[in-house]
């Protein structure tokens, strides 16, 4: 299933390119929006609330975003509580810290993708599970 639009929140611009190319090669999404801080992401969320912009179908958030006022988990929580409602949201990070993973789950993250050189197979598995996340029929999953 092709996801209409994805928002990626990650401070590493080079990863934006990797993610974009991987998504394109795997036919994951038609539209990819990228921002480099949680503050920028929150501005976008405000636009969703005001109906100035279409809400993305899925949001990928990095765990530690340098130069942001809050971390990825807090952004996940805010999107879920204040803006989300229906958006598939999860963490994409190189960390595999169990404490952080459980914090992300508590904040409402639906998945955790471990960022590495070989990200395509994980994104492919995520793509297969996406429908389940959208319908809230599958539980939290870590792709590592």
């Amino acid at each position: 299933m092709l996801i209409d639009s994805i928002l990626l929140v990650d401070d590493e611009s080079l990863f934006h390119l990797v993610f974009e190319d991987a998504c394109n090669l795997l036919d994951i999404t038609l539209q990819l929006m990228t921002v480099t801080s949680t503050d920028e992401a929150e501005k976008l969320c405000q636009k969703w609330l005001n109906n100035d912009m279409k809400k993305p179908d899925c949001v990928f958030v990095d765990l530690n975003i340098i130069g942001s006022s809050v971390d990825g988990i807090e952004l996940v929580r805010r999107i879920n509580v204040n803006y989300g409602n229906g958006v598939v949201i999860g963490i994409i990070s190189s960390s595999t810290d169990k404490k952080e993973i459980s914090k992300a789950t508590a904040a409402g993250a639906q998945f955790w993708i471990v960022k590495s050189d070989d990200i395509e197979p994980r994104l492919m598995k995520f793509k297969e599970d996406y429908e389940g996340y959208k319908n809230k029929t599958i539980p939290f999953k870590v792709y590592s």
Partner: protein, 176 residues
């Protein structure tokens, strides 16, 4: 999305004459409705995927190099810090060594000066005592002995004063 005949023909001509193909996500939404345009889309998708694969590879290389560069920068900063610490340690050692040398020199000068003062004092006193014990005229020797003793005492205090002054100056320089 289905394109009209004119657009399809323009795209086919562009590909044939200039080798320029559509690329990006638009290829995912165009639906081919004839075999020729289907082949065109297939070719465009292959080219797009190949280009993206190349870009992905290069981006990954840049990412790795970036990481290496970051590591190297961290190591360099660490080495600089260590060098700075080593430099200040050497400077401190050098300063201590200089002070030690100065104190040794001072010690030698003071010892020599005091030895000269003591020797002169001892010899003149011995000559004076010898003269007194022999009942010879000691008028000149007595006067000379008195003035010599005065001079020697003055010189001794002068040496002590100089030592105290140097010590005070060194301590103050350390504090500053």
């Amino acid at each position: 999305m289905i394109l009209n005949e004119e657009t399809k023909q323009s795209l086919l001509d562009l590909a044939r004459n200039k080798g320029v193909y559509l690329e990006g996500n638009i290829l995912k939404v165009i639906v081919p409705d004839d075999p020729q345009f289907s082949r065109y889309l297939e070719e465009a998708r292959t080219r797009d995927a190949s280009m993206r694969r190349k870009r992905l590879e290069i981006t990954r290389q840049v990412q790795t190099q970036n990481l290496d560069l970051h590591e190297a920068h961290k190591k360099l900063e660490q080495a600089l810090l260590e060098a700075e610490n080593a430099k200040s340690a050497v400077e401190q050692d050098l300063s201590i060594l200089q002070k030690k040398t100065q104190f040794r020199l001072m010690h030698r000068i003071v010892n020599l000066s005091l030895a000269v003062v003591a020797s002169v004092g001892f010899i003149s006193t011995a000559v004076y005592i010898f003269a007194l014990s022999r009942n010879v005229d000691v008028e000149h020797i007595g006067t000379t002995w008195a003035s010599l003793t005065g001079i020697l005492l003055t010189n001794s205090f002068s040496i002590l004063g100089t030592i105290m002054g140097v010590k005070y100056a060194s301590e103050r320089a350390d504090k500053d």
